[in-house]
Amino acid sequence: MRVRAGEVVLGLGFIGLMITLFLAFNWAPSVNINAFQAPESQRIFYWHVPAAWAAFIAFAVLFVGSALWFFKRSPLGWKLHIAGSEAGLACGLMAVWSGCVWGAAEWGTPWDWEDWRLNTFGLLTLLALFLVLGRQSQPDGVESRDTFSTFGLYGFVLVPLTYVATRIWVIRHPGPVIGGDEESSISGDMALVLMIGAISFTTLIVGHILTSMEITKFEQRLERLQKELDGE
């Protein structure tokens, strides 16, 4: 069986994630126990933040793919649209899940409907869910691709809005840990583990995008073969 580039990258991403997890539990320092209600739960952020970061990359891929399809009718653009929406959904769900569990431990509630960061990110994940489920229930054609691409294009507005949400409207979600002010910065060891996590999630998502694009290529090849078989 031939070795696929996507699967190799996926494997590297998984190894990186396991290293991150090991360092998060065994090496990264604990936070100030007086600053948090649930200080041990804070270790969730070594996967939570990289998962959200990977989701943003996936939504950027979705945006580029949607634009390429909508304006250029590029087959590569459509493959990127599919891969970006699937990866965005998976990483978005991981970030939402881990955030909800942390919220339950730290705030006493899994969700705050008044927090901009939570709601805009939740909407982004719902958009990815709509794109993935919608595509599976609709016949593939120019019209359906145009519709889904339009959602992919306009939905991207939520990405910068989500990114700046904690800078403009700090309500409950913690502020940025990297690129924020002095109060929000983290220690060097914690930042290192977080960076390894971000690199690992990025590698994993690249592997997923490559594999997903290959699946789309196979599906299109299969459809063509089926048509040849049917004599069309």
Binding site: P75, V101, V142, Q220
Partner: protein, 62 residues
Amino acid sequence: MEDKTYLSIAYLGMIFGLAIWTWTVVSRSRNLEQRINAMEQSLNIKSVDSDSVASVNDTNDN
């Protein structure tokens, strides 16, 4: 619930989700490739990679 219980639930959920997602994607890719190879061998043809929706649209544009 204890602090560490929340931590375990969060990580186990993410590990489970990642494993399911990756397994689904990889196994789907391998199954499709096997089906295509079997079809191509039985039909004795070699198909090219192309997007029929995009190519139909190109034809309409011309």
